[in-house]
Amino acid sequence: MTDSNSSDSVGLVTPQVLHFDEPLTLRSGKVLPAYDLIVETYGELNADKSNAVLICHALSGDHHAAGYHTTEDQKPGWWDQCIGPGKAIDTNLFHVVSLNNLGGCAGSTGPASINPETEKYYGPDFPVVTVRDWVKSQVALSDRLGIDRWLAVVGGSLGGMQVLRWAISYPERLHHAIAIAAAPKLSAQNIAFNEVARHSITSDPNFYEGHYLEKGTYPKQGLMLARMVGHITYLSDSAMRAKFGKTVADFEGQGNNFGRDLRSGKLSFGFNVDFQVESYLHYQGERFSENFDANTYLLMTKALDYFDPSVDYQGDLSRAFAKSDCKFLLLSFSTDWRFPPERSREIVNSLLKAEKDVSYLEIEADQGHDAFLLPIPRYIDAFSIYLNRAHKEIIANAS
């Protein structure tokens, strides 16, 4: 039994699938004639539809951001720390909409869906989608839901990039843009890690050029490896020391053991798993590979690599924001080395140059990039204060 009845949980939620017949022209020039988006909502939409908050998910996220699907679920949605009654995104105040992006594998149309034209899996033939394409589909979703202007569009990491795209391309459709642990574009190092992940998938003998589903198999080893390397970039050195150095008491008086806890208490003098950190990565990779589509992983990492809104403005991001008409909140975390604070500051500086309303906080946190999913008091407080203020402003303007 879970705590789906707890007072700060949105409780049991049921996703719904929305079908879109309007063709979507993608950045690549390809056209997706029709598609499905799977969506969850939490909290009531008010009469004038002014209290809606859109959640944009990161690399491996989906529409299930909060609450539980069944009373048997062991874990709530991926951002349950921040979404619920009385939480930072307070479902007593806001109507929260969360979707699985196109190309995903949690219910929206993606490579693991059946292509109606061929009646086979899309597989590798699913077109490469970009952040711009996702946001375009999210605009179609907004129209379907009758939401003219989001009170806020919110996201962390790759989700934060979608938030920036919203502010750039659809300025009249949001009041607040909240981008957490984001970056204005990937660095060569970021792209390098993504390429290792992709290569590990595509070189798995069970990948079959992306046609693995037709063969009734999947590139498990490749996906595992991709996730393992990805996971390392989500954690900080200090977070790993803390997480895998639990027997620190044994070393009392001699400092900590740098997270070198052993799995079975002694070294094997072989090439097996000796340390807890190894076992953890294997576990994470294993679990991920069972729940995630390899082609989706390839697509998501490409969307990350391609993201660079300054590309239409001779590399000047501030010009990209020229038409933006929302307030911005950016948050970064001190030990995040995937998208470190400097990357958020690049966005902030561009916004200042464009003379936009922007607030920026650099949160001290040990947990690295993962911090945006965790209950770090200063982060949650600031997030909550900002959104409560935003809610007050909207209600004050309406009355």
Binding site: V348, N349, L352, K353, V358, S359, L361
Partner: protein
């Protein structure tokens, strides 16, 4: 209204863009948003103050002034404020230069160490002045660069900074004619409106 705020407010053009260096809880920017319809940006490093700014709906950037203002464009603000923060900076002279690069004019307020109370305290007790207004001991004070009205005048001369207006008030933010006559001796808080020559 506090007389120092009244003075500062009158130097701010309605609808102008204002940067507040060390904006505290954001109350000055909030006040100027209401009274002068300014477009606001505040810089602050204290987490509690930053939260208060968010509550006010003031734009606040977490940024350490000791790292400079290199991320701000020249002439991108009408007025840059530096109120009661000068004395806590590592390089106050450099920041003064920076604020006049970023803004067309600047407003600086600081505690005047040339005030007779400080002089009296130091000369009679022979120890660093501690008061209700400046409650810190020498070793734990965030105020590491005290100066007097005369010192600041000299800095402005040395850096070719034009003083548009100089005035002083007491720690209750009240001013009067004899303070104006002997600012360095009687003024407790100095208020400068400066610009580039």
């Amino acid at each position: 209204m506090r007389p120092d705020l009244e003075i500062i407010q009158n130097w701010i053009e309605p609808g102008s863009r204002v940067l507040d260096l060390g904006c505290g809880d954001g109350s000055l920017l909030d006040f100027l948003k209401t009274s002068r319809s300014i477009r606001d940006v505040g810089l602050e490093i204290d987490p509690l103050n930053i939260s208060r700014c968010l509550e006010f709906g003031v734009n606040v950037i977490e940024q350490n002034l000791d790292n400079g203002l290199a991320n701000f464009q020249s002439n991108s603000f009408d007025t840059v404020l530096l109120t009661q923060t000068l004395q806590a900076l590592s390089n106050p002279d450099l920041l003064i230069e920076e604020m006049l690069r970023v803004g067309k004019n600047g407003i600086v307020t600081f505690p005047n160490f040339g005030n007779w109370k400080s002089r009296f305290y130091l000369s009679t007790k022979g120890r660093m002045p501690v008061s209700k207004f400046m409650p810190y001991e020498w070793y734990d004070t965030p105020n590491i660069h005290f100066c007097t009205v005369k010192d600041f005048d000299a800095l402005c001369v040395g850096k070719n900074i034009k003083v548009l207006t100089r005035t002083v008030v007491d720690s209750q933010h009240q001013g009067n004619w004899y303070m104006k006559a002997w600012p360095n001796f009687l003024g407790e808080i100095a208020i400068y409106h400066i610009t580039r020559t």
